[in-house]
């Protein structure tokens, strides 16, 4: 069993690395997009899965970084790397502000408050024509020369997402991550233990925003284009759906959810224009039979399998 797993792992890593050589450019773009949106979903998972606070405004944080890069590169004509840095700082700042306002609430109130915050950013992007180009967005956002080639960009995204994924994993499994889990289970107990709950949550929100912003910037570099749909509610819900589909709190689930949604919406739509219905049915089936998400369900199955083997 262990041997099989190792083999699978090696094969999958080899596949991800060799992907630009074995697949044509279109699936490669899909893989790049999967990785980027997977990172975005992972950033949501820090909040939704670990702290138990489900945000509905992360699209705004994701897109805010993208807008800053787009403006810096395409309008102001600045250096793209510096733009990236500025974008991440902006996203972190937006996230810190969102967090500071929202962390004192829980459950549906947290959901609604973050939703409202996200809508404010969307409103700004949609209306501030002279800066954001409003509905028309900002076009012609060139990638830095070093990563302009689509293959190199794929590796750049792969490396960035791997690194960011590792950092998130470290974060979630650090004492700080344990504190977040503690808050998720009982914030009053954590307060009694001497934790500053709102402050801890704001930090988590801000860190999550850094990764969301990074993903948003990568997406703008992939599409060379940013428009209000990058900061829209749909963006937020799509990220959240990826988390829920893959399994909240598992981190890997975010990547799996992203892969499933992107592949399905592209493969199914080649055969039927009712592809969104199929996607919807899949969500319903997942929620009915695997409410813990695909990864969560698989883990549970594996546990019961190995438990079954031990008893016999």
């Amino acid at each position: 069993m262990r041997l099989l797993l190792c083999a699978l792992l090696i094969v999958s890593v080899a596949f991800v690395i060799a992907l630009p050589f074995v697949l044509p450019v279109y699936p490669e773009t899909l893989a790049t997009e999967t990785l980027i949106l997977g990172l975005f979903a992972m950033s949501i998972d820090i909040l939704a899965g670990v702290t138990g606070r489900v945000p509905l405004g992360h699209g705004a944080i994701f897109g805010a970084g993208g807008y800053v890069v787009a403006y810096h590169v395409a309008v102001a004509g600045g250096n793209a790397w510096i733009g990236m840095l500025l974008g991440i700082v902006t996203s972190a700042a937006v996230a810190a502000l969102f967090g500071a306002l929202a962390v004192r609430t829980t459950g549906v109130y947290f959901l609604l408050l973050t939703l409202a915050e996200g809508m404010i950013v969307w409103g700004i992007c949609f209306r501030w024509t002279s800066v954001t180009g409003a509905e028309n967005g900002i076009r012609g956002v060139a990638r830095p020369a070093l990563i302009a080639d689509p293959h190199i960009f794929y590796y750049f995204v792969l490396l960035t997402v791997a690194l960011a994924g590792f950092l998130i994993w470290r974060l979630v499994h650090s004492p700080f991550g344990q504190a977040l889990r503690g808050i998720s289970e009982s914030s009053s107990r954590m307060r009694t233990l001497g934790y500053n709950v709102p402050f801890t949550l704001t930090i988590a929100f801000t860190l999550s925003g850094v990764f969301a912003g990074l993903a948003g910037i990568l997406l703008v570099f992939l599409n060379n284009f940013v428009s209000p749909s990058n900061v829209s509610l749909e963006q937020s819900t799509q990220g959240l759906l990826m988390v829920i589909l893959g399994g909240a709190g598992t981190l890997w689930g975010a990547l799996v959810g992203s892969a499933v949604i992107i592949l399905l919406s592209n493969l199914v739509s080649a055969y039927t224009e009712r592809w969104s219905m199929i996607l919807g049915l899949m969500f319903i089936v997942t929620m009915l039979f695997a409410s813990e998400g695909l990864i969560g369900k698989a883990k549970a199955l594996a546990r019961s399998y190995s438990a079954g083997r031990k008893t016999t």
């Binding site: 262990r2 797993l5 699978l8 792992l9 094969v11 999958s12 596949f15 991800v16 697949l23 044509p24 450019v25 279109y26 699936p27 773009t29 899909l30 997009e33 949609f126 209306r127 024509t129 002279s130 180009g133 409003a134 509905e135 028309n136 967005g137 076009r139 012609g140 599409n223 060379n224 284009f225 428009s227 209000p228 749909s229 749909e234 598992t250 890997w252 990547l255 799996v256 892969a259 992107i262 592949l263 919406s265 592209n266 493969l267 739509s269 080649a270 224009e273 592809w275 969104s276 990864i295 698989a298 883990k299 594996a302 546990r303």
Partner: protein
Amino acid sequence: MDRRKFLGIAAASAAALLVPLDPLKVLAQGGPIRIGFLSPLTGAAAASGRELVDGWNLYWQQAGTRIAGREVQVIVEDDGSTPDIALQKARRLVQQQNVHVLVGDILANTGLAVAEFVKGTGTPYFLPVIAADDLTQRKRIPNVLRMPGFSASQMTRPLADWCLKQGYRKAATIGQDYTFGHEQSGGFVQTFSEGGGSVVGQLWHPFNTSDFSPYLGQIPGMKPDVVFAVETGADSTRLLQQWATFGLKGQIPLTTSQNTTDQSIIRNLTPAETEGIISVAHFAEGRDDPETRAFVQAYEKAYGKLPAIFAAEGYTGGLWLADALKKINGKVEDIKLLLSTVRSEVVPDSPLGKNLRMDDYGNPIFDIYIRRVTKRADGKMVNTVIATYPQVSQFWHYNPEEYMKQPSYSRTFQGIKK
């Protein structure tokens, strides 16, 4: 360990799913002409997207799918009304299905996203609908042409001129508060104010306004001679309904942009709500012209309703493209030749009107009609032509280079001459 296992399984299944995506072999010339057609079939613009595809399909059904001995293959894809999905689909059409030409999209941001993508690939991309001014003005892309779409502000200038000729001197505007609304309104008020009229007020409302009373209540106080409205979709329906219920209809003349009294709107309203409303468009389903009549009849027969502008644009887009492909003998691989042919040819006759042609900036020049909603013999409401502005370009009477020095229209810049 579990995590690794399932990562592995996930990657393996992803790999398995990707296998069928092997590219079609790039066929040598003589194979079919492949056209990728993008249209919103789900999401916010789904109803309009359906009519666009219906009009497009109607053309190919009538004209047949062979050009210069080559089969024409159309691959229709849903753009989901969002830029992300539009981009994914455009990438698949170009990079995997190797289409020679892309056509389509309705919402501005979907079209702009695809335009940005084809800027890199060089694929010819023809827009039957997308109206964002700058796409054929300040930020144009050589392989992106409107065919037979219009730029937003091009459409409303003749209407302003017509209003001046009716003796109207004070105009108020009401419109959706986003770029398309700003641009259409900008074209109107700039021409109106430069012709000696004054703008007594501009009202902006958000998308999907369920109640227009806060806006309509302000209009009589402004004492305008004429009101100009730019609305699309459900906003059009509600504005026209409330305009009538508030008793403004018949008191203040209402003029509108092309979408507000489009067939897709007025076919669901009562004659009392729509009759007599003036609008401006490059298509009028009630126009007395053999080509338009033939199209309207065929469309009615095929789909059981009168065609909306989107249907006429889809149809004419097919007609124009097929015309160019015939002229170059089906050599669609020669992108330069195709683009220069499209730019230089004149389409003598179409459901839109006569002598469609491109200006030097990739935007069509065509006749624009001032239309009035009237009752047809069978009781259905149609837009009929009351005045024609022949061969209107997106630059109206301006010098293009001079014109493009002024900023793009926005809520704060409407080009009103003081």
